[in-house]
Structures are given as structure tokens and as C-alpha cells.
């Protein structure tokens, strides 16, 4: 160190030496996973160098302002609504005792089980002419009142009410595990509960809350079905328009790049705000007891919590059930059961694969001693920001190249003509899902991982226990909840996923979301109700399981 400044060459050499010393295999593995996940994104990125198509100017002149304006509007409004619904309900169920509290705990996650475009259809149906709301008003002769859901305010509402559980789940996990001793300490110091919540708990819960919020915002920016139906022009509808109506993939890729840039800013923001707050409470602590008010106050809390549950779950569910009853005869048959099983199976395999990838990525990056590698590992979650259709195309570029290479070799050396092996197979589909949903798995694992103070695994390693063994013996049991939550969240997302599945799914395989979309896109919204209900029920079971897990933890 003494000589560090004396010669430039020497310092460069010492830097190189340091790099050599620090480059362990974990860095290499991390980069390999990031490359695997980023490959489709890079494939598309390379196309940026070709320049935008000729309609780019047309698009900038006529549409871009609208896209940016509406997307920012949605980001802002959804953030406010989602934080309001998500954080308040998480705090109420973790801190207070009230009737049906246990049921509310899992009911609050259930809105996630309904694809947001289905929620959009349901709400449009409710407030439509001849919809349930109007029939209700007719009863009182008040049908002159009309609520128009199909505009950007309605869209912000629909997206928020169906996505707030991401924030609810992440903030409740924090409140359940960390808030106990904090609140105890501050009340012992004579600070009121209300003030402690806003001054102490909320700031400390911020990383968890923001992590959930980022997921919500990525979903919001990515939404196609609901925005398109409500006639709101956003980046994603613009990407589809440029790609398909204007026939210019190059222009669509430029729009995607802009969208990715916005998401990148969001991620950096989250990183930055987390850096200010790298505190993990060393002792996880739960509330010793939940506060019990008198009965009327308890019922009031119940009613408050019931609001997001009703609007996010019961109301759209009721509309769907009504439609399902009307159309049951046309839709339901045995094929349906097969379809549900296929959906379930694909979603399950995908979620396990994705979670393994996410866990490996997080821990390899942790074990790598190069800081740049750690930052680069974050790139793995970018796929979530990219519209499903674009990811699908991104997957097809490298896998087709590989396929064609294999076909060439098999032909030249063995004289066998194989068809496309990877494309149109489940491998390509699962790969695409993994790219798209890695972020969904990454966040809960990482945030539970953060809570594990690094001194425990450090001391284990100091005793000469290897990284993997330490992971399984020490860290895995501590982050088990995070891992299982990740599996469930990915599972639900895959069950609901649409554009990517449409493009990449193999022959003979169908999913419930595809089935629902087939009906809805043919203006048979009512018929879409039954497959939607099946999605909801298959997704609801793991949600309830997830909740059990969080409580036991």
C-alpha cells in the first residue's frame, strides 16, 4: 500500500493482481446465469444498432407524448393506490385483532389470482349498459347515473386493485418478522403507536415495501390486455402497434428500449434508497400479542380491510361466477380438466426452475468478491420489464439459431433430418417464462436473504465449511419462506401469462389463460369466465398455502 502512488504501472499491476485474486468461480457462474437470462434481451438489443424504422418519426410526432404521459400517469396513480391498499391492510392484519382476521390474511393475497385483464373485463361488464351496476340502479329508478370505467382512471384503479397484494405480501412479511421489538422499544420510550408507525416502522419497512411496489409498477408498464380494452395508449400498446400494425419491429424495439430505460431508472432508484438503509434487525421478532380494541372498533378495522378484498376479489369474482352460470353449458367439458392439469403442471415446473435460477444467481453473486459482478447480477431481473411478446421474440432468436445449427450438424454428419428441437417445445417456453419471471422469484428470496445477518454464514465459512454446505445448513432454513413464496408467486404469474405463451406454446398444449383469451378476444367475454375461474381456483390454493407458511415462519 505504501508504494501504491509511486508508479502507475505498479498500481495497474496490483489492480490486475487483485482482480485475479478476487475472480473466483462464483463470479464466473454469476455471469453465466446473467448471460443465460439476458441472452434474449441482448439478442433484441443488438437490433437497436440497426436504427429505428421509417415510422419512428411519425410515431414521435403523433403518439409518443401520449404513450409517455399515460404511462407516467399510471405509474403515479397506481403507486399511490397500491401503497394505500397494500401497506394499510398489511399493518392492520399484523398488528390488530379483529373478526375474520385469519381469513383476511389470505383473502388479501387472492386478487393476485385473477389476471388483471380479466378484472378489467369484469369491471367493464359491471358498469356497462345492462351490467350488474345498472340493473341495481334500475331497481331504484336511478339508471341515469353512469360510471365509466373505461378510461385511464378506471385502468389505474383496475391495475391497482389487482396488483396491490405484491406490496401487501412484502410489507406484511416485514411487519410480522421485524416490527415487534421496534414497536415495543418505541412505545417504551413513550412514543405513541401512531407516531411510531410513521416515524419508525414505515421508514424501516421501506425496502420491503418498495420491492413490492417495483414489481407492481413493472406489471403496470407491461399490461397490454386491460389498457388495450380500455382504449388507453401506453408504451406496451404502442409496442404492439409499431410491431404489428405499422409492420416495423425495429421501431417496436426502440419503444421497448425506452420502456426498459424507464424500468432501469426505477430499479436504480430502489437500489439507491436501499443503500441508505442497509439495516437488518439482528433479532427477528414478532409481536408478542396483537392489539385488541373493543368490538365496534374491531368491526371497523374489519370493514376497512374488506374494501381492497372486495374490490380486488369478491366483486370481479361475483361477476365472473354470474357469467359462468350463464355460459356453463357451452364451455365446460372433460377437455377442460385436461387443460387445467396441463396449465398446473407447466406452471409448477416453471416456478421450480425459475426459483432455482434466482437462488443460484443471488448466492453466486454474494459469494463472488467482485463488486461489479454483484451489480451485473441485478440485470437478471430485467426480463420482467419487457413485454411478454417481446421476450418471446427474444427467445426465438437464439434458440432458432441453435436449432438450425443442430439441424445442420445432424444433417451433415448423421444424415438425420431433425425438425426444430427447442423451438415449439416446452424447453423454449419454460426458458421464456424464467427470463420473464426471474424478478418475481428474485425479490422475495433476496429480501428474506437480507434479513439473515451475514455474521452467521461468515462464521460458518470461517470454520472451513464450504459455500454450498453453509447454504444448505445455515442459510436455506432461514430463507425457506422466501423461496416458497417465490415458487408460489411465479406459479401464479405463469398461470396468468398470456402473450408469451401464445407465441411459444407447443402444439397439443393449451393453458387456461390462452383459453380465456381466445374467448375474450372474440368478444365472448362471458364465455371467458369459466377458464378464468379455473385460473383463480388453481392459483388460490397455493396462495392459501403461502399464507400458512408466512404465519408459521
Amino acid at each position: 500500500m505504501k508504494q501504491a502512488g509511486s508508479s502507475n504501472i505498479f498500481s495497474l499491476k496490483s489492480r490486475l493482481n487483485r482482480l485475479k485474486r478476487d475472480t473466483n468461480r462464483w463470479s464466473v457462474f454469476t455471469l453465466a446465469i446473467v448471460a443465460f437470462i439476458a441472452l434474449p434481451i441482448i439478442s433484441i438489443g443488438v437490433k437497436l444498432f440497426a436504427g429505428p424504422g421509417e415510422t419512428w418519426g411519425h410515431l414521435v410526432d403523433n403518439l409518443l407524448v401520449d404513450y409517455i404521459g399515460n404511462s407516467f400517469f399510471l405509474v403515479f396513480f397506481c403507486s399511490v393506490l397500491v401503497l394505500l391498499f397494500g401497506v394499510s391492510s398489511a399493518w392492520l392484519v399484523s398488528r390488530f385483532e379483529f373478526p375474520f382476521r385469519k381469513q383476511m390474511e389470505w383473502l388479501l393475497i387472492l386478487p393476485l389470482a385473477i389476471p388483471s385483464y380479466i378484472v378489467a373485463y369484469a369491471y367493464a361488464g359491471i358498469f356497462d349498459y345492462g351490467g350488474s351496476f345498472e340493473l341495481f340502479l334500475r331497481f331504484f329508478n336511478m339508471e341515469f347515473i353512469r360510471i365509466d370505467m373505461m378510461n385511464k382512471y378506471g385502468l389505474a384503479f383496475v391495475l391497482s386493485i389487482s396488483l396491490f397484494p405484491y406490496v401487501y405480501v412484502s410489507s406484511r412479511a416485514f411487519f410480522l418478522n421485524q416490527a415487534g421489538n421496534l414497536l415495543e422499544a418505541s412505545t417504551m420510550l413513550g412514543i405513541g403507536e401512531f407516531r411510531s408507525f410513521f416515524k419508525l416502522i414505515l421508514p424501516l419497512a421501506r425496502p420491503a415495501i418498495i420491492a413490492g411496489l417495483i414489481l407492481v409498477l413493472m406489471e403496470v408498464l407491461n399490461d397490454y390486455g386491460a389498457a388495450q380494452y380500455f382504449g388507453v395508449n401506453t408504451f406496451t400498446t404502442g409496442i404492439f402497434r409499431a410491431w404489428f400494425a405499422l409492420e416495423e419491429p425495429e421501431t417496436a424495439i426502440y419503444l421497448s428500449a425506452l420502456l426498459i430505460a424507464i424500468v432501469f431508472v426505477l430499479i436504480l432508484f430502489e437500489k439507491w434508497q436501499r443503500k441508505n438503509l442497509q439495516v437488518a434487525s439482528q433479532i427477528a421478532s414478532k409481536f408478542s400479542h396483537r392489539k385488541e380494541f373493543k368490538k365496534p372498533a374491531q368491526w371497523l378495522i374489519f370493514l376497512i380491510v374488506l374494501i381492497p378484498v372486495s374490490f380486488g376479489f369478491f366483486v370481479p369474482l361475483a361477476q365472473l361466477i354470474y357469467w359462468a352460470v350463464l355460459t356453463a353449458g357451452n364451455v365446460f367439458d372433460l377437455d377442460f380438466l385436461m387443460l387445467s392439469l396441463q396449465s398446473f403442471w407447466i406452471a409448477f415446473v416453471t416456478s421450480v426452475v425459475t426459483v432455482i435460477l434466482a437462488t443460484l444467481l443471488i448466492y453466486f453473486a454474494k459469494w463472488s468478491s467482485i463488486n461489479t459482478v454483484k451489480s451485473v447480477s441485478k440485470l437478471g431481473i430485467l426480463g420482467y420489464a419487457i413485454p411478454g411478446a417481446v421476450v418471446a421474440i427474444g427467445i426465438m432468436i437464439p434458440t432458432l439459431a441453435l436449432d438450425k445449427w443442430i439441424i445442420g450438424i445432424m444433417n451433415d454428419y448423421f444424415g438425420i433430418s431433425t425438425g426444430l428441437l427447442i423451438n415449439g417445445s416446452l424447453v423454449a417456453l419454460v426458458y421464456a417464462y424464467a427470463v420473464r419471471f426471474l424478478a418475481v422469484a428474485y425479490n422475495p428470496i433476496e429480501s428474506t436473504g437480507l434479513k439473515v445477518s451475514s455474521s452467521i454464514p461468515d462464521s460458518s465459512r470461517m470454520l472451513g465449511v464450504g459455500n454450498f454446505r453453509t447454504f444448505f445448513r445455515v442459510e436455506f432454513p432461514l430463507i425457506k419462506t422466501g423461496i416458497l413464496s417465490a415458487i408460489i408467486l411465479v406459479f401464479i404469474d405463469v398461470m396468468k401469462e398470456l402473450p408469451l405463451t401464445l407465441i411459444l406454446k407447443p402444439f397439443h398444449i393449451n393453458t387456461l389463460a390462452v383459453k380465456a383469451f381466445e374467448y375474450a378476444s372474440d368478444e365472448m367475454v362471458m364465455e371467458a369466465a369459466i377458464p378464468s375461474l379455473f385460473i383463480i381456483f388453481t392459483a388460490a390454493i397455493p396462495v392459501i398455502f403461502l399464507n400458512r407458511l408466512l404465519i408459521k415462519d
Binding site: G231, L326, V349, L400, I407, G419, G424, P506, E518
Partner: protein, 346 residues
């Protein structure tokens, strides 16, 4: 962990192998036909099943939007398993043709059944069904004698009364393309601008929603495809039936070129591994028995003249259709979208 990983890789490999085996057998016995389709109606599924029963040829279906299917086919190139591409508009078929994804086929059956404006001049694609884009008006507020042409929708008297969905919709794009071909670019743009000014609300929802908005009193006229009205009148939801009954249908431009129609159609993929089956399949779809099913369950107009439209469609009466060759719609589609944007049609 490693064991789990290994197990999973094995599983996935098993899946992919299974897939490839299936594909190989496809090529050898060719008892299959692979269909990329944008149509996802119950009637189609029924027809595919019937075709399977009659010929023993298995129908494999990929359902997605035509845009995505075309993208998929062009990326798959020579290895594409697609035999038949079915879309719900001529524009996309024309695009597939211009991207060199379809091949000309020779079929006397198709030649004889389908009118020349309903197919590609070089036999790359053929129409399967027709839909007319018509005006649905509020029976209690609009006198149908006031209605005349699409061009007339731009007139001041309809200010604040027009309901039509977004310009992202292919049916509107095709209508606009027909305006461009018939009246020229400049007139078409002026027309779109005037229509935007006449709109009762910013475009949203689907065709059925426009009809419901007319019934709710938001506007007086909706531009919709005929078969959606048919479906509303036969809906499981009594409220939709009521809404459908409250509007009348008007076929525009009867004095002149005729009402704008769009079609759904099919073409044989350029690298179709099962070409003979593909042709057989399309021939089957225009046969009388298949056309009857199209006509009766989905309220579309048959392209086979030997088949009568559904009774409901017959009630609406015969109409004169615009015989503009449909490939021109495809060629002007992009222009149409750009003019929509410039006119501020969302």
C-alpha cells in the same frame, strides 16, 4: 440441490425429446396438418374435429393473433411446421404473402367456389367467410333514411353521435384502407379527421361495447361487424339480447360501390411439410357442409354461394358488397394506420 437440478433437466429433456419424436413421425406418415390460426371460435373446433373424422388427418392447432403467427413463421423459416395460416382479415394474409410465407396452390375446387375479388390473384390465399362492416343505429332516435354512406358519417349532423372502436383494430384499418383505395389518401384523411370530431367518446372497447353504448344513449350510431350483432341477439345474457334488439342495421353505400366487407381466409405456408393435407383442409373449409357450420354458428356470410346465410342474416336482407379486390386492403394497411394517427383517431 444438484439432484433436483439434474432431475429437472432430465424431465425437460424428456419433454423435448417426446416433442421431436412426434414431429418426426409427422413428416413420415403425413397424417397431420398443422394449422396456425387467428380464428378461435367454437365452430372452428367443431369443423376441425369433423375433418379429422372424415379424413383421418389430425389437425394440430396453434392459436395466436395473426401478427404473432406471421412473425413466428418468418422466424422459423424453412423449418416452420406450419401448413396452413388462417387469419381474420385479408390484410394479414396479404402481408404473409409479401413476406414470402405463402405458396400458390392449384385447386379446381377453390377456383370454382370462391369469387375472384375474394381471393389472391396468384392463389396464395382464399377467403373462408365474409363479414360486412355496417352501421348499427338507435331505432328510437335515428331515421334510417338519414343514413347513406360511410362518407356521410363525416357530415356535421352526426356531431357527438358516432361510436367506433380504436384504430388499433384491424376491421377499422381495413375500412380505412378501402377509403384510401376508393377516394384517395387526402380524402380518406379528411374523412378520418371529421369522423374523430363526430365521435361521441374517445374510442374504447370492442364492437359489442359500441352497440351497448348506443343503447345506453351515449351516441346514436355504431360501426360494427354484422356477426357481432348476430351473436348479441343470441347471447346467453338477456341484457345483451335486449341491447341487440334496440338497434337497426344499415348497409352503407348501396347506391354506389357497395358495403365494405372483410373476410377471414387461409393460405398454404411456403414450407408446408404436409402440403397435400393443407390443400385438402382448405378445400374442406369451403365445402358446403363446412360453410353451413360457419354460417349458422358464427353468423358470418358464407363464401360458397351454394350455401344460404343463417336465417337471421337473411332477415337483414341481401346487400350489395364492395367488390374491391381484398389484397388492396392489405397493401394499404400501413398507410391507413398512419393516417389514423395523424387524424388523432386513438
Amino acid at each position: 440441490m444438484k439432484k433436483i437440478l439434474l432431475g429437472l433437466t432430465g424431465l425437460i429433456l424428456m419433454f423435448s425429446c417426446k416433442n421431436s419424436e412426434e414431429k418426426q413421425t409427422d413428416e413420415t406418415d403425413s397424417k397431420e396438418v398443422n394449422v396456425y390460426t387467428h380464428r378461435h371460435y367454437e365452430s372452428d373446433r367443431q369443423l376441425f374435429k369433423q375433418f379429422e373424422e372424415e379424413t383421418g388427418i389430425r389437425v394440430n392447432v396453434i392459436n395466436a393473433s395473426a401478427d404473432e403467427l406471421i412473425q413466428k413463421m418468418s422466424m422459423e423459416g424453412k423449418q416452420s411446421p406450419a401448413d396452413v395460416l388462417i387469419t381474420v382479415d385479408a390484410g394479414r394474409l396479404e402481408r404473409a404473402k409479401s413476406r414470402d410465407l405463402l405458396q400458390p396452390i392449384e385447386s379446381e375446387v377453390l377456383e370454382n367456389t370462391i369469387a375472384s375479388h375474394l381471393k389472391d390473384a396468384e392463389n396464395h390465399w382464399f377467403s373462408l367467410t365474409k363479414r360486412a362492416r355496417v352501421i348499427a343505429y338507435a331505432k328510437d332516435r335515428v331515421n334510417p333514411e338519414e343514413l347513406s354512406t360511410y362518407e356521410d358519417l363525416a357530415s356535421e349532423k352526426w356531431k357527438g353521435k358516432l361510436l367506433i372502436r380504436s384504430s388499433g383494430n384491424i376491421y377499422n384499418q381495413s375500412l380505412m384502407a378501402s377509403m384510401i383505395v376508393n377516394n384517395g389518401e387526402e380524402e380518406a384523411k379528411k374523412w378520418a379527421e371529421a369522423v374523430v370530431k363526430n365521435m361521441a367518446r374517445s374510442p374504447k372497447g370492442n364492437d359489442r361495447d359500441q352497440v351497448k353504448a348506443v343503447v345506453a344513449g351515449e351516441g346514436d350510431l355504431a360501426i360494427v361487424n354484422t356477426y357481432y350483432i348476430g351473436k348479441m341477439l343470441n347471447s346467453d345474457d338477456p341484457e345483451e339480447v335486449k341491447a341487440g334488439e334496440k338497434v337497426g342495421l344499415f348497409f352503407p353505400n348501396q347506391e354506389g360501390r357497395g358495403t365494405h366487407i372483410n373476410v377471414s381466409g387461409a393460405g398454404v405456408a411456403k414450407y408446408a411439410p404436409n402440403k397435400a393435407n393443407a390443400i385438402k383442409f382448405i378445400e374442406f373449409l369451403v365445402s358446403e357442409e363446412a360453410q353451413k357450420i360457419f354460417a349458422h354458428s358464427n353468423y358470418e356470410y358464407p363464401v360458397n354461394d351454394a350455401v344460404e346465410p343463417a336465417p337471421l342474416l337473411q332477415e337483414w336482407g341481401e346487400f350489395k358488397e364492395d367488390t374491391l379486390n381484398l389484397s388492396q386492403l392489405g397493401q394499404n394497411n400501413k398507410k391507413a394506420v398512419m393516417l389514423f394517427d395523424e387524424a388523432g383517431w386513438k
